[in-house]
C-alpha cells in the first residue's frame, strides 16, 4: 500500500540569498557544440549516393536550455569531382523545412564547409535534420548507381547552440530531470552532498538511487562527484542525502519539523546559490526514513508517490527500478527469441542505397554457442515495382554474408521467411545481425527519372533467432566484463550484488557506491536487480549466500581492502596467490609507479565461487572515478586477465596472477560434440572397431546356437 503525503511549498525553506536579500547572479549565455560523431552518434561519415540521396540526423534540445540565438549548423563535406556543379547541390532541411543549400562544385570537392543558421522557431524537443543531395554527372541519361554520384558528410560536422540555463522548477513529477535529462547531451553530472558520517542505510539508499538514475540515463553516463564543500561549491545538479540530523544541509533546504520516524522525505529544490541547478533532497528522521525516501525516488511507480516540490513517503511496495531504456535489449536467456524480445520493432528501408538494418544480439558473457550453431528465420516483406531479377535480400552475421535470396514476387510480398543457418564459429556473445535489402526499381531507364522512394523492404520484428547456448567460462577473468559487465550486470534474476563497505564509510565511498549503482543500472535490464551494500563486519555480508556477486572497493592507503582479502572471509584466495599478487604489485609499482587503481577478479567462498570484483585506488576520493573508468564502454574492452592496473595516464596493464577454473557446467553433449568434431577420424575408427567387435560377439553367439554369420 502506498501512503504518500503531499507537502507543499510551505515546507521549503527560503533560499539563503532570499533571506539575505541578495539575489543570485543572472545566468549568462553559454555555448555548447554538439558534434555528429560524439553527441549525435552518426556512426562515422555519412555517404549520400545516387541521383537524389537522403541522409538524416536527429538531435534534441535539452530541457534546461533556453536558446538565446539560432543554433548554427557547421556542415563539413566532400563530394565527387565528377558532379556537374549546375545540376548538383546539397540542401538542408530542419523538420522538413529547407534551411540552407550549397552548390556541389569544384570549390568544395575537398574540405567543403557550409554554415547554416537553424531558426529557433523550428526547433522542438526532438528534431530531424535532413540532408538531401541532388547529384548529377551527366546532362543525359543518369545512372543512379554510378559510383561518381556521392557526397560524404563528415562526422566532424557540428551544431553550435547558444543558450541560457533555465532555473529549475521544484516539481518532483519531472524526475529524473534535472538529475538526468533524457534530452541532454553527454553524461549527467551530479554531485553528492552526503552526511558527515555515512551509514550503511545511506549507502543502500545511494545504491538504489544510482541504479534508478543509471537506468534512465541509459547510454548517457551519470558522473558522480564529491564536492569539496557545501552546495555553494557545487556546479552541477546535486543529491543531498542523509538523516535530518546527520546531514545539516537538509535542514537548510526543507522544513523537516513534521517528519516522523521511519518516514522519508523527498524534495526537489533549486540550488540556492545557482537556481539553474537542481538539488534532490532524500532524507528522513532516521536511516529507515532515508532508505524509504530513496526507494520512493528510485521506484518505477514514483509518479504515484511523488509530485509537487516535496513529498513524504511512508511505504513503497514495489521497489523495482524504472524500466531500462536500452535498445535493443540483450538476448533473453533462452534458445529461441524474436527481435521483438530485443525491443526491436519493424524496420523499413527504402531506395537504391537502402541502409543496412543492423540488430545487435548480445548474449551473456559466459554464453558459448553449441557446436551445431543456430538459425535465423528472417521474416520480411517488400514492395511492388521491384526489378525481381536484381533485387535481393542479404543476411549477414558479424559481417559474414550467410545467405541471400531474390525478391521475386513482382507484386511484392508481406509474409516471406528466409531460413538462415548460423555456423557456430561466427556466433559470438556480442553479435550483430545485418539485413540488407538490395532494391532496384522495375523498368529502370537511366534516361528517365524514377524515384526510388517507392521501393522498400521491411524487416519484421517477428524475425526469430534460434541460438542454443551453453553457459560456462573460465574465471576469474576480467575480460568477461566486456560483455556488459558480466557477471556483475545484475541480469541473472537469481543473483545479486553485495557491495562490501567499511564499517565507517567515507563520503568518497558513498560517491563510489552511487557511481557503481549508476553504472550497473545503465547495464542491467533485469526487472528487479538486487544491489545492496553491507558492512564488512556484518555477517550477513558473507558471499556464501547464494549466487551473490561481491564488489569490494577501497583505498590502498588504509589497507582495508587488503585486510579483507587476507582474512579469508570473503575470498578463498590462496597464500600462493597472495604472494604472487604481492610480488606482481611490487613489479607493477616498479614499472608504472603508483597506479591509478587496480581491478581484480577473484574467487569468493560462496557456492558460485568466482565472482569477487576488487577495485582499489590509492586514495578513497578516486574511487568513483575508478568505477567510471572500469565501466567505460571503450576501456572495458581492454580488460583481460584477472588483475588490471589502470595507469594514471589512462593505459591499462593486465595480468594473469590467479589460476582460472572452469565455472558453470559444460554440458556433456556439447563437450562430446566439440571433442568429436576435433577427432572425427577417431570416431570413424572407433565405430569400425566397435562394428568388428559386435560382429565377433554375434558370430560367437550364433555359432553356439548352430547359426552362421
Amino acid at each position: 500500500m502506498i501512503a504518500t503525503t503531499l507537502l507543499h511549498m510551505v515546507l521549503i525553506v527560503p533560499p539563503a540569498w532570499a533571506q539575505d536579500d541578495e539575489a543570485p547572479l543572472e545566468p549568462a549565455d553559454q555555448v555548447r557544440v554538439v558534434t555528429f560523431d560524439d553527441d549525435l552518434n552518426t556512426g562515422g561519415h555519412m555517404m549520400l549516393q545516387g541521383v537524389t540521396a537522403y541522409g538524416t540526423v536527429t538531435f534534441t534540445r535539452p530541457r534546461g536550455w533556453d536558446l538565446t540565438a539560432d543554433p548554427e549548423l557547421d556542415l563539413r563535406f566532400e563530394h565527387s569531382a565528377a558532379l556537374l556543379p549546375d545540376q548538383s547541390n546539397l540542401t538542408i532541411h530542419l523538420n522538413d523545412q529547407p534551411v540552407g543549400s550549397v552548390r556541389l562544385d569544384a570549390d568544395n570537392v575537398i574540405g567543403g564547409q557550409l554554415s547554416v543558421r537553424l531558426p529557433r522557431g523550428l526547433i522542438e524537443d526532438h528534431n530531424r535534420l535532413s540532408l538531401v543531395a541532388d547529384q548529377s554527372y551527366t546532362l543525359e541519361c543518369e545512372d543512379p548507381f554510378d559510383p561518381a554520384l556521392w557526397t560524404r558528410i563528415s562526422d566532424q560536422s557540428s551544431i553550435r547552440f547558444t543558450y541560457r540555463p533555465v532555473p529549475i522548477e521544484s516539481q518532483l513529477l519531472d524526475l529524473p530531470y534535472p538529475i538526468v535529462d533524457e534530452l541532454g547531451y553527454g553524461a549527467s553530472q551530479v554531485a553528492l552532498v552526503g552526511p558527515a558520517s555515512v551509514s550503511q542505510a545511506d549507502l543502500n539508499a545511494l545504491a538504489q538511487l544510482g541504479l534508478a538514475f543509471g537506468r534512465q540515463a541509459a547510454w548517457h553516463h551519470v558522473q558522480v562527484a564529491t564536492p569539496a564543500g557545501g552546495l555553494d561549491k557545487v556546479n552541477t545538479h546535486a543529491i543531498v542525502l542523509g538523516t535530518v540530523d546527520g546531514n545539516p544541509v537538509v535542514n537548510d533546504l526543507v522544513d523537516t519539523s513534521d517528519l516522523k520516524a521511519g518516514q522519508g522525505l523527498v524534495a526537489l529544490v533549486a540550488n540556492p546559490w545557482n537556481p539553474t541547478f537542481g538539488v534532490l533532497v532524500v532524507t528522513g528522521k532516521d536511516d529507515a526514513g532515508v532508505l524509504i525516501a530513496a526507494q520512493g525516488v528510485s521506484a518505477n511507480d514514483r509518479y504515484d508517490l511523488l509530485s509537487g516540490a516535496a513529498a513524504l513517503v511512508d511505504t513503497v511496495d514495489d521497489t523495482s527500478p524504472p524500466a531500462t531504456r536500452q535498445n535493443p535489449l540483450p538476448a533473453p536467456n533462452r534458445a529461441d527469441f524474436a527481435l521483438s524480445d530485443l525491443g526491436v520493432e519493424d524496420r523499413t528501408v527504402r531506395g537504391y542505397y537502402a541502409p543496412t538494418i543492423s540488430v545487435p544480439i548480445r548474449f551473456a558473457g559466459d554464453a558459448r554457442p553449441r557446436p551445431g550453431g543456430g538459425k535465423v528465420y528472417v521474416r520480411y516483406g517488400y514492395g511492388a515495382q521491384l526489378d525481381i531479377r536484381l533485387s535481393t535480400l542479404e543476411v549477414r552475421l558479424n559481417g559474414v554474408s550467410l545467405r541471400s535470396v531474390a525478391l521475386e514476387d513482382p507484386q511484392g510480398s508481406e509474409d516471406e521467411v528466409l531460413e538462415v543457418e548460423i555456423p557456430a564459429d561466427i556466433l559470438r556473445p556480442d553479435s550483430r545481425l545485418d539485413v540488407v535489402f538490395h532494391l532496384f526499381p522495375r523498368d529502370f531507364d537511366p534516361c528517365r527519372y524514377i524515384s526510388d522512394k517507392m521501393i522498400w523492404g521491411t524487416l519484421y520484428d517477428t524475425t526469430e533467432v534460434h541460438a542454443p547456448m551453453d553457459h560456462y567460462a573460465t574465471l576469474p577473468d576480467l575480460g568477461k566484463l566486456r560483455h556488459r559487465a558480466w557477471p556483475f550486470n545484475l541480469e541473472d534474476p537469481q543473483a545479486g550484488i553485495v557491495v562490501v563497505a567499511p564499517d565507517a564509510p567515507s563520503q568518497a565511498h558513498a560517491s563510489a557506491v552511487l557511481q557503481l549503482g549508476a553504472e550497473l543500472g545503465r547495464l542491467s535490464v533485469a526487472t528487479a536487480p538486487d544491489l545492496s551494500v553491507r558492512s564488512a563486519s556484518d555477517e550477513t555480508a558473507s558471499p556464501s549466500t547464494g549466487k551473490n556477486r561481491v564488489v569490494l572497493m577501497g583505498a590502498e592507503s588504509n589497507g582495508w581492502v587488503e585486510q579483507q582479502l587476507d582474512n579469508g572471509v570473503l575470498t578463498a584466495r590462496s597464500q600462493d596467490f597472495t604472494k604472487e599478487l604481492k610480488a606482481d604489485k611490487s613489479l607493477i609499482q616498479a614499472t608504472v609507479g603508483t597506479p591509478y587503481g587496480t581491478l581484480e577478479a577473484a574467487r569468493t567462498q560462496g557456492e558460485d565461487p568466482y565472482n569477487l570484483l576488487v577495485l582499489r585506488t590509492p586514495e578513497a576520493v578516486e574511487l568513483s572515478g575508478m568505477v567510471r573508468r572500469v565501466f567505460d564502454e571503450e576501456r572495458i574492452l581492454e580488460l583481460a586477465g584477472n588483475l588490471a592496473v589502470l595507469e594514471p595516464g589512462g593505459g591499462i596493464d593486465t595480468l594473469d596472477v590467479a589460476e582460472r577454473v572452469a565455472v558453470g557446467k559444460v554440458p556433456v553433449v556439447s563437450a562430446a560434440r566439440f571433442a568429436t568434431r576435433r577427432n572425427w577420424l577417431l570416431v570413424a575408427l572407433i565405430a569400425t572397431i566397435a562394428a568388428v567387435l559386435g560382429t565377433a560377439l554375434v558370430r560367437e553367439w550364433a555359432q553356439r546356437r548352430s547359426g552362421e554369420v
Binding site: 551445431g372 531479377r389 541471400s404 548460423i422 555456423p423 575408427l685 562394428a691 559386435g694 560382429t695 560367437e700
Partner: protein
C-alpha cells in the same frame, strides 16, 4: 531351443548357447560409437573425410574379409541413422501445404525403406546351420504321413505331375490325397488311376485353408505334407523332413524351399532368365534361413510337412486371411510351437507365366500379409519372441512397399514439374549425407544377399507392382476383413508377342510424368540458375526412376509361350539309334551294323515331356526318326521314339532336338519321374555373385536391350560357377533307392545301410568368399583420403559450403554483376592481346583511339570502387580494374616512347592481374 549339432561336451545349455541378454548388452555398448557418429555434426571437410572413412571401411570389410561383412552392416546402419536424423531434423519443408505434403510423404517413404533395410539385415545376419536328421529307426516305426494336394481349377496335366511325384516319394507309410474343391470327375479318375485318395466337399468355404481343414478332419496321418497342385516333390522329400519331427516333440513345421523351373515374367520378358536369381531365391535361401535361426521360419503353403496335433492345437489352418500359410505359422509360433527350415529344394513348381497372373498372385500375398499386419499386429502379438516379432513384422510390412515406391517415383516430378520441395536442403548437404547412406546400404545389401538377389532388380519388381499393391494394401489396411482368395492361373500358352496394356498403364502413366520431368529439367536449369545444382541432382534421380519405369514397362511385353511343357536342364545317359535302321542278321552278312553297334551314346542336355535335347559326340547326322533309351537314376529305362526337329553342329559335336512321338500314359509318368523326382534335380541352379555396378548396368541393358532384335530364345547368360553341388547320394544296394538322409535302413525296402550310414552336411548354398581386389583398392583409397584429410590435407571444399563464409550462389545483382565482369574481362583480355601484337616487329600499329576505347570500357563496366559485393566478385573487380589501369598506363608509356622493357613489364602485370581476376571470378561464381 534345440540344436542339431552333436553334443559338444559338458556345460549347461545356457552356457553352451550363450545368453541373449549378454549379447544384447554387448551390442548396446557397441552401438554407442555408432550413435555418436549418427548424431555428429561436423564441418564440411570433416564430414567428407568421415564419410570417406566409413565407406572405405565398409568396402574393405565386405570385399576383403567377406566373413566379417556383418561389421559393415553395423556401419551401414549408422550411416543410415545419420542420414535419417538429418532428414528429420533439418530438411523438412513445412512452409506450405504442398511442400509439407510432399515433404512428409518422402520422409515416410524413407522411414519405411529404412525399416525394411533394418528388417532385411536382421533377418539375414545370422542363418541357421541345419543338417538332415537321419530316419534312424525301422520303417514300421516311422510316423504316418498324409500328403495333401489341394486343387481347384488347375489343369489335370499339371495335377498329374504332382500326383505322380507324390506317389513316387520314398516313404513306407504315406497316403496321397487329392483335395478337389473343383469337384471334377476327371480328377477323381486321375486319383483312382494313380492310387491316391480323393476328397471333396459340398462348398468351398475358406478356400484353400477350408479345403485343408476339411481334409484334416477326414484323415488320420500323424504328419501332414502339403503340396500345391503345381508343386512336384522329389522322392526324398519325406526322408529328409520327417526326421526333424522325431527329434523335436515341439516341432510343428518343416518348410522346404519353393523352387520354380520356369522363369517369372520379369526374368522372361526382360530376357534375364538364367542371369538373375529368381525373385524368391532371396526369400527361400536367405530370409527363411535367417528366420529359422530365430525359430521364425514361415509356413509357405506348399512343400512343407506339419504336425497334425499342432494344427489341431491352433484350431486348424486359419481362414480369416488370404495368406493362410504365414498366418498358420504365426499362430503356431505364438502358441509356443517350433519350426524348422531345410534349405534343400525338395519340390518344384511353376512360376506365373504372365505378368497379369504375377500381379494377381502378388496382390493376394500383399492383401493377406497386410491383413496379418493389421489384424494380428505381429510386433505386439503375445507369445512371440522379440526376434519373431521383428521377422513377422518385416515380412508383413514388406508388402506395403507400393505407396513408398510410388512416392520415390513421383517425388522428382513434384519438384521438377510443380516446384514442390519434398525436402529442402543444399545440394552439398544432400550429397554428404545421402552418399554414405546409399553407398553402404548398397554394398552391404549386396554382400549380405550374395548370389540370391542382385542389386537394383528388386526395385524393378517393386516398380512394376507398386501401383497395384499400393491400392490393395491401403484398402486392406483400412478394411482388413475377409477377402476373396484368388487362385493363380498357371500353365497358359501364347504364340505371339503381346503388350499387356491393361496391366502396364499405371506404370506408363507415371513414366509419362517422369519423362515430362526429364524434358523440363534443362529448362528449369536455365530458368532458375540458383537451383541448378538441386535440379541436376533431382534430374539424376528422375533419370534413375525412368530406367526403373522403363524396365517395369517392358515387363508387360509378353514373350510368346509356345511350349506346353517347360524344358528342364537335365543330364542323363541316352542311347539313340535311327528308327528305320536295318540291322545285320545273326549271320553277320552285309554292312548293316549289329544291334549293339546301332545304338549311339548321347547325353541329355535338357528334357521336357514333349522332347529332349541331346549332345552326340560322333558327329554323324541323325535320320528323320529315332529310337531313344533314357536311363532313369533308379536303373529303370524309358524307351521312346521321336523326330529330330533341329540339328546343330557345334565344334565336333552334334546338338539334336528331338520331339517325342505321342507318349503313352506309362511313358509320360516315367518321364515325369525321370525329370521331377530325383533328389538332386533342383540343386543345379547357378547364379553369379552380385556386383552392384554390374547389376545396375544389367538394369540399363535390359531396357535398352529391348530395342535390339532377339532370337526366340532370348539371351542366355553365362551361368558362372555352380554354387550348389549335388548331394553326395548313394543308392540302396537292393532296390536302388537314393538315400539322402543317411539312414541305417533303406526307407523303401528296409535293407541295412548301416555300414555307410553317416549324416552328411547339407550344402548351404555357399556364397563366394573371394577377395575382390578392385573394391578393396577403392576402399583403401577412401580410407587413405580420409586419413590425409584428418592429418592436415585440406582440399578446397569449404568454398563449396553453402552457409559458410561466403555466399555460394550468386543471386540477384551479384549475378548480373558477374556477367558484366566476365564481359569486361573478355574485352580487356582482347585489348591486351591487341596491344601485345602491336609490340611485335611488323605487328599492327596501336589504333589512335585505342586509349579512348579503354576509357569507355572502364565506364561501361563501371570499373570504379563499387559497393562491397560477395568476396570473390569484389576481388575480381579489383583485379580487373587493376588490369585496366595498368593497361592504360602502359599505353601512355608506349606512346611517350618509353623503353619496350618497361612496357613489357607493365603488360606482364596486366596478364597476371587478368589471370588473378579469372581465378576470383571462378571462386565468386561458386
Amino acid at each position: 531351443m534345440h540344436t542339431d549339432e552333436p553334443d559338444r561336451g559338458a556345460g549347461s545349455e545356457d552356457e553352451r548357447q550363450g545368453s541373449p541378454a549378454a549379447l544384447w548388452f554387448g551390442l548396446v555398448l557397441i552401438a554407442i560409437p555408432m550413435v555418436v557418429y549418427a548424431l555428429l555434426d561436423l564441418p564440411l571437410r570433416a564430414h567428407i573425410g568421415i564419410s570417406l572413412a566409413m565407406m572405405g571401411m565398409g568396402l574393405l570389410l565386405t570385399r576383403a574379409v567377406p566373413d566379417w561383412r556383418l561389421a559393415a552392416v553395423f556401419l551401414s546402419l549408422a550411416a543410415s541413422m545419420r542420414y535419417l536424423y538429418w532428414r528429420v531434423t533439418g530438411t523438412l519443408a513445412l512452409d506450405s501445404f504442398g511442400n509439407s505434403a510432399a515433404s512428409l510423404m518422402l520422409l515416410g517413404a524413407e522411414l519405411y525403406a529404412f525399416s525394411m533395410m533394418f528388417g532385411g539385415y536382421f533377418q539375414t545376419a545370422v542363418m541357421r546351420r541345419r543338417s538332415v536328421i537321419p530316419l534312424d529307426m525301422a520303417p514300421e516305426l516311422l510316423p504316418s504321413v498324409d500328403v495333401f494336394v489341394p486343387t481347384y481349377n488347375e489343369p489335370v496335366g499339371v495335377l498329374r505331375r504332382t500326383l505322380v511325384g507324390c506317389a513316387a516319394m520314398d516313404y513306407p507309410d504315406k497316403l496321397v490325397w487329392v483335395l478337389d474343391d473343383g469337384r471334377r470327375e476327371e480328377v477323381r479318375h486321375l486319383a483312382a488311376e494313380l492310387g491316391c485318395g480323393y476328397l471333396t466337399r459340398s462348398d468351398n468355404a475358406g478356400a484353400k485353408a477350408g479345403n485343408l481343414n476339411a481334409a484334416l478332419g477326414r484323415t488320420q496321418g500323424t504328419l501332414i505334407a502339403i503340396f500345391d497342385a503345381d508343386h512336384v516333390p522329389v522322392r526324398s522329400f519325406l526322408q529328409v523332413t520327417v526326421g526333424f519331427f522325431l527329434k523335436e516333440a515341439e516341432l510343428a513345421l518343416v518348410q522346404t524351399p519353393h523352387h520354380f523351373y520356369n522363369p517369372d515374367p520379369v526374368e522372361r520378358n526382360l530376357h534375364m532368365e538364367g542371369v538373375l536369381p529368381p525373385e524368391q531365391a532371396f526369400f527361400y535361401h536367405g530370409i527363411q534361413r535367417g528366420n529359422d535361426f530365430w525359430n521364425g521360419a514361415f509356413f509357405c503353403g506348399s512343400c512343407a510337412l506339419l504336425r497334425r496335433t499342432a494344427l489341431e492345437d491352433i484350431g486348424g489352418i486359419p481362414t480369416t486371411t488370404v495368406t493362410e500359410d504365414a498366418h498358420t505359422s504365426l499362430k503356431l509360433h505364438a502358441a509356443g510351437w517350433q519350426s524348422a527350415y531345410l534349405p534343400i529344394p525338395q519340390a518344384a513348381g511353376l512360376a506365373t507365366e504372365r505378368f497379369a497372373f504375377h500381379i494377381t498372385q502378388r496382390l493376394r500375398w500383399a492383401r493377406g500379409m497386410t491383413q496379418i499386419f493389421r489384424t494380428e499386429v505381429p510386433l505386439l502379438k503375445p507369445g512371440l519372441s522379440l526376434a519373431q516379432r521383428i521377422t513377422y513384422s518385416a515380412a508383413a510390412a514388406h508388402f506395403l512397399f507400393g505407396l513408398p515406391r510410388l512416392v520415390f517415383l513421383i517425388a522428382p516430378a513434384l519438384f521438377l514439374l510443380f516446384g514442390l520441395y519434398p525436402l529442402r536442403a543444399e545440394v552439398l548437404d544432400v550429397l554428404v549425407y545421402a552418399i554414405p547412406h546409399l553407398f553402404l546400404a548398397t554394398v552391404c545389401t549386396s554382400a549380405m544377399h550374395g548370389n540370391r538377389r542382385h542389386s537394383f532388380w528388386p526395385e524393378v519388381y517393386e516398380t512394376a507392382l507398386a501401383p497395384y499393391t499400393a491400392l490393395v494394401t491401403t484398402l486392406t489396411l483400412l478394411f482388413p476383413g475377409q477377402q476373396k482368395f484368388v487362385v493363380t492361373t498357371k500353365g497358359e500358352q501364347s504364340d505371339k508377342r503381346i503388350y499387356d496394356w491393361s496391366k502396364a498403364w499405371p506404370v506408363l502413366l507415371i513414366g509419362a510424368f517422369a519423362i515430362a520431368s526429364l524434358v523440363v529439367t534443362p529448362m528449369r536449369m536455365l530458368g532458375i540458375p540458383e537451383e541448378r545444382g538441386t535440379t541436376l541432382l533431382v534430374g539424376a534421380w528422375n533419370l534413375y526412376n525412368i530406367l526403373l519405369l522403363g524396365a517395369a514397362a517392358f515387363v508387360a511385353l509378353e514373350r510368346p509361350q509356345r511350349r506346353s511343357e517347360w524344358r528342364i536342364p537335365y543330364t542323363c545317359n541316352v542311347w539313340m539309334r535311327d528308327h528305320d535302321i536295318e540291322l545285320a542278321t545273326d549271320t553277320g552278312q552285309g554292312v548293316a551294323p549289329s544291334e549293339e553297334e546301332a545304338w549311339r551314346k548321347a547325353e541329355a542336355m535338357d528334357l521336357s515331356e514333349s522332347g529332349i535335347r541331346l549332345r552326340l559326340w560322333d558327329g554323324r547326322p541323325v535320320s528323320d526318326r529315332v529310337d531313344l533309351l533314357l536311363e532313369l537314376d533308379d536303373g529303370e529305362v524309358v524307351a521312346l521314339t521321336g523326330q529330330p526337329v533341329n540339328q546343330v553342329e557345334e565344334h565336333s559335336e552334334l546338338l539334336v532336338g528331338v520331339q517325342f512321338d505321342a507318349l503313352s500314359t506309362a511313358q509320360r509318368d516315367q518321364l515325369i519321374r525321370l525329370m521331377f523326382t530325383p533328389p538332386d534335380t533342383w540343386l543345379r541352379d547357378r547364379y553369379r555373385e552380385d556386383a552392384p555396378l554390374r547389376s545396375a548396368l544389367s538394369v540399363v541393358g535390359s531396357v535398352f536391350g529391348m530395342f535390339l532384335p532377339f532370337g526366340e530364345e532370348g539371351r542366355r547368360a553365362d551361368q558362372g560357377e555352380p554354387l550348389a553341388q549335388a548331394l553326395a547320394t548313394r543308392r540302396c544296394t537292393q532296390c536302388g533307392t537314393v538315400d539322402l538322409a543317411g539312414t541305417k535302413l533303406c526307407a523303401a525296402c528296409g535293407v541295412s545301410l548301416a555300414s555307410a550310414a553317416a549324416p552328411f552336411a547339407i550344402n548351404r548354398g555357399a556364397r563366394t568368399r573371394r577377395v575382390q581386389w578392385g573394391a578393396v583398392l577403392t576402399g583403401v583409397v577412401f580410407v587413405g583420403l580420409s586419413a590425409s584429410m584428418a592429418w592436415g590435407w585440406s582440399p578446397d571444399v569449404d568454398r563449396l559450403a553453402v552457409p559458410n563464409n561466403a555466399p555460394v550462389s550468386i543471386e540477384g545483382h551479384d549475378r548480373v554483376r558477374y556477367h558484366e565482369l566476365v564481359q569486361a574481362h573478355r574485352e580487356l583480355r582482347q585489348s591486351y592481346w591487341t596491344f601485345r601484337a602491336s609490340l611485335l616487329p611488323g605487328g599492327p600499329a596501336l589504333p589512335a583511339t585505342w586509349g579512348e576505347k579503354l576509357f569507355w570500357l572502364q565506364r561501361e563496366y563501371r570499373l570504379h570502387e563499387g559497393d562491397k559485393r560477395s568476396e570473390g566478385l569484389w576481388q575480381a573487380e579489383g583485379a580487373v580494374r587493376g588490369a585496366m589501369l595498368t593497361l592504360m598506363s602502359a599505353e601512355k608509356e608506349y606512346r611517350s616512347g618509353a623503353p619496350q622493357e618497361r612496357v613489357d613489364e607493365m603488360l606482364d602485370s596486366v596478364h597476371r592481374l587478368l589471370r588473378e581476376a579469372a581465378t576470383h571470378m571462378k571462386k565468386g561464381r561458386q
